[in-house]
Structure formats: C-alpha cells, structure tokens
C-alpha cells in the first residue's frame, strides 16, 4: 500500500517536473518573441531619439519661427537661411502630382479587377501589377529623366530638364500598384450579398461598383490612399534624379525643386563635419519628414475609424 503510494507520488512529481519544464520553455519562447518585438520598437525609439536630440541642437542655432517662415533654404552658404517651407513645398507639389495620377488610376484599376475582370484576367493582371511595385525606384528615376521628361517637353516646350511634374508623374505610376492592390482587396472583401442586393434592384455592374461596393470598402480605400501618400512623401530616388536638387520655394510643378528627401540625400553624400549646423539640418529635415508622414498616418487612422466597414 505504502509502496503503491510512493510510486504514485513519484509519478506525480514526474508530471510536475514535466510541467515545470514546459513552463520554462513557454517562458523562453515568450521572452524570444518579446525580444523580437522589442527590437523593432526600440529601433523606432532610437531613430526618434537621434532625430529629436540632433534637432534640438539645430534649433539652438536657428529659431523655429525662422525655420518655418524663411523663404530660402541655403544652409551651406555663407549667408545661411533655413526655411524648411522651401523643401516642404517641393515635397507637397511632387506628392500632389503623384497622387493625382495614382489615386484615380489605382482606384479605377481596382474597380476593374474586383468587379469586372474575370478570374483569368485577374490571375494574370494582379501579379504583373505587383511586379511594377518591385521595380527599384532608381530605375523609375531615370525613366522619368530620360523618357518622360523629353516626352513632356514635346507637349510643354517650356518644361525644364528637371521638374517636379515629370518626377511626380512617374512617382504616381510607381504608387499605382500599391493603391490598386490594396483597394482591390478591400473591394473584394465586400460581401457578395450586398452586390446581389444592388443587382436585384436593377442596378448595372458599374452603378453597383460606384454606389455600393466603393462606399462599403471606403475605409480600405482610405487606408490604401494613406499608404500611397506616405510613399509619395518619403520617396527619394525619383526626385533626386528627375526633379533637380536646387531648393526652390514654388507651388508650380513645371519648375525644378528639391524635396526634403532629395535634400537629405544631397547633403548626406557630401562630407560635412560632424556636429556642424549643416550636418544638423539633415536631422531637422528628417524630423520634419517624420512629422508630415505621421500627420498623414494619424489622419488615415482617423478616417478608417470614422468610415469603418458597416457591413
């Protein structure tokens, strides 16, 4: 009887030991997963820390009012001016041109693929479209400079060799696949019962797509547009190659201009002494870019919540 008891105890403690082991490995995995997650968060925190701390030093030399209101950006000249609006204007104009191309085109393609194309067409068209998103942006940049600009000059003879227009157009084409692909996913997620409801009312495919499917998928569409905006604002190589790099406060897409990103490339390639004010402009510009992108992302999140799928 007592021997029996002892072996029972032994069994139980074995199971306990097994449990403890399982508990340990569970903990270990949890710790590994946490570490993996922490790396990405810490990297972001580190980047923000560096941007902010270097920018603080920059703003000890330059007042924020000057930074925001000065109409010239000449940080490397003897007569230095630090008007970030010069770079912001270039960024916004080129992004605006890109989005004027990408949002309508991307949406139309998405409507076609989701509502009209048959299975075979979609099977071929979607991967090809996504391939377009895999082309390196430097290739797009030279495409803009060597092909699109000369073509545009045939229509607009005054267009200079470098222009926001040409870079923006090509940037738009680059963004089309992202918008088209995400928008198509959002529209395909609209339940078939909703389309049937519209068809049953005697609506055509096009009427259904515009009046039922698009409104039902609007939060997904908004998300894809926000992603497109983020890509446009952060795009570097196309602008560095095709838009010219001279800082130019302009709202005219027919002119060449530097953007925040192309300025950073330009300065980062030179050999500025560490800690000089010119060096710190990179971080101030980088922080501005981060804030612009952040603003669009927050607006996007807000839109998504506001117009979240109601089906």
């Amino acid at each position: 009887m007592s021997a029996n008891n002892a072996s029972d105890l032994h069994q139980v403690s074995d199971r306990l030991a097994h449990n403890a082991m399982r508990h340990f490995s569970e903990r270990l995995i949890e710790a590994l997963l946490f570490a993996a997650a922490a790396v990405s968060v810490l990297t972001t925190v580190g980047i923000v820390y560096v941007l902010v701390s270097e920018s603080i030093q920059f703003f000890q030399h330059v007042s924020i009012v000057d930074f925001l209101t000065d109409t010239q950006w000449t940080p490397l000249f003897d007569d230095a001016h630090y008007g970030i609006m010069v770079l912001i204007s270039g960024t916004l104009v080129s992004s605006g041109v890109a989005l004027l191309v990408a949002i309508p085109m991307g949406t139309v393609i998405a409507i076609y693929l989701s509502e009209f194309a048959n299975g075979k067409v979609r099977e071929v068209a979607k991967p090809v479209l996504e391939l377009l998103g895999g082309i390196p942006t430097i290739v797009f940049g030279y495409f803009a400079l060597l092909i699109v600009t000369p073509l545009l000059q045939k229509v607009l003879p005054e267009l200079p060799g470098f222009s926001l227009l040409s870079a923006g157009l090509v940037m738009g084409i680059m963004i089309v696949p992202y918008i088209a692909s995400l928008s198509e996913d959002a529209m395909r997620a609209v339940p078939m019962s909703m389309r049937e409801g519209s068809y049953a009312m005697g609506a055509t495919k096009l009427y259904t797509a515009i009046h039922v499917v698009v409104p039902a998928a609007i939060s997904g569409l908004a998300a894809s547009y926000i992603l497109g905006i983020s890509r446009a604002v952060g795009e570097t190589m196309i602008l560095a190659v095709a838009a010219g790099m001279q800082p130019n406060l302009t709202w005219n897409p027919m002119e060449p201009a530097a953007t925040i990103t192309s300025y950073i490339v330009q300065v980062a390639l030179g050999d500025l002494p560490h800690g000089s004010i010119g060096y710190q402009t990179i971080f101030a510009a980088g922080l501005t870019l981060l804030l612009v992108t952040l603003a669009f992302n927050i607006a996007g999140q807000w839109l998504r919540r506001r117009y979240r799928e109601a089906y």
Binding site: Y199, A200, V212, A310
Partner: protein, 259 residues
C-alpha cells in the same frame, strides 16, 4: 383565405430546368404563381427552392456557368423572363427581392430606400421624398425611422434592417416580390412583424416566399409548393397541402418525419 375565387396568373414556370455547370439543380418544374397571392416554397435544405426563386429575377446570370432551360412566363404581357433576348436588368426592374440576411447598403436609411428609384433615373427630390415615405410606411417601419432618415442603415437592428430591405424593394413598385427565407436571421418578434407585413403586402403585390419554417408557410401563404431534390413534388392551396397532402413525401416532410 379566399378559396372560391379563380385567381389570375401572374407568372408560370414551364418545363423549367436549371444547371449549375453540369449539375442539374431544377428538374422540369411546372408551376403557376397567382396574382396578388402569397406562394410559399418549402422543402428540405438543398432541394432547389432558393435556386428556383432566384430564377425569377435572373440572379443566376451573375455567376458564370449557370444555364436555364424552359420558360418562366410573366403576365399580363406573356414575357419569358428567362429568354436570352430579355435583359436581366429589365427583369429585375419588375421583380423585387428580399434576401435571407438583411443586406442594407452602407448608406443612410433614406438613400437605401431611394436606391432603386435613383437606379431608374429618378432624382426629383419631391418624388423621392414621397416614394421613400410611402415605401417605409408600406414596410411598417416609418414610425420608427421617420426622425432619423439620415442615419446610417447598418446601425438599425436586424429586424428593422430587414423591414428596410422590404421598403427598398417596395419603393419601385415591383409586380412580383421574392422573399428568400426573410426571417431566418431574425428573432420571433421581428419574425412576427415580417409575417404580418407579408400578409398586408399581398393586397398590392404578388409574393413568392421560400421558408424553412412550416408554420410560417401555413400562416402567411395562400398556395404552397413542396420541392424535393430539384423536383416540384406537390403544389396546391396551402390549407389543402397541410391538411391533406396528396404525395407521401410531402406528408412525411410536413409531419416532420423527414428534413
């Protein structure tokens, strides 16, 4: 229930076959639909009653590989609804439908009801206001929503959504209204409201209703058709079908020995 009148025909299926690709889903169906009457389609799951219902507004045309054979004659003009020369959109302009799960559009209550009118090119505000109100009253939901016509329809309760969908179908004055298990997603109170509504609506419109619920068929319909494995087993006046079914299979189903 009116038993002694001779009702006029609104529609009639003649030798109707239907195929999903190779699979034959409806087998040689012949059946009258009487004007301003409620006809119920009953039968076990997969018997083809929804397939049959969806032939009346050509919903099968939306998916590739579907094929009809035979005719559905629509009166008084004797049009064959299934003819390839007849545009399915024309058919759907005359035949409304209410679905199993309420499917309001992500629009306001007002715009949901106005949808079919706008599809038909009606944009006159006064006409729309008028017809929207009339349709909402017809679907017995006007009192509940008249002060919030600009609210989003998906925020309504399930039963309200379904009555809104009925209002949406009514707004365009269909000649035939198809109901595909309209209460299967609703609680008993909402179900009661819909049944009452169906009873009220048959004064204005011919109704064809698919239901899984035998009591519902008995309560709301004038005629009942029992379908099994794609065939029309028995069709007749509802009280006759439920009291004295002619076919053994109908009797088994109604008495709960099958299905």
């Amino acid at each position: 229930m009116q038993i002694h009148d001779t009702p006029t025909l609104k529609a009639e299926a003649r030798n109707l076959n239907f195929y999903y690709g190779e699979a034959k889903a409806l087998k040689n169906i012949n059946m009258p639909i009487y004007d301003k009457k409620v006809t119920a389609l009953i039968g076990p799951s997969g018997c083809g009653k929804s397939t049959y219902l969806r032939s009346f507004n050509r919903m099968h045309d939306l998916y590739p590989g579907n094929r009809y054979e035979g005719e559905i004659r629509f009166f008084p003009d004797n049009t064959n609804l299934l003819s390839p020369e007849v545009d399915p959109i024309e058919v759907r302009m005359r035949v409304g439908m209410v679905f199993q799960k309420p499917n309001p559009f992500p629009k306001t209550i007002y715009e949901n009801v106005a949808y079919g009118l706008r599809v038909r090119g009606e944009n006159n505000k006064r006409v729309l206001d008028d017809k929207v109100e009339h349709a909402l009253k017809g679907a017995a939901i006007w009192e509940e929503v008249k002060d919030r016509l600009q609210d989003l329809a998906p925020n309504l309760s399930g039963g309200q959504q379904q009555r809104l969908c009925i209002a949406r179908a009514l707004a365009t004055d269909p000649e035939l209204l198809l109901f595909d298990e309209p209460t299967s997603a609703l609680d008993p109170i909402a179900t009661g409201a819909i049944e009452e509504l169906v009873h009220e609506l048959k004064k204005r419109v011919t109704i064809l209703i698919v239901t899984h619920n035998m009591q519902q068929a008995a309560r709301v319909s004038d005629y009942t058709a029992y379908m099994y494995l794609g065939e029309m087993i028995e069709f007749g006046k509802t009280d006759e079908i439920f009291i004295k079914p002619q076919d053994k299979r109908t009797e088994d189903y109604i008495t709960g020995r099958m299905g």
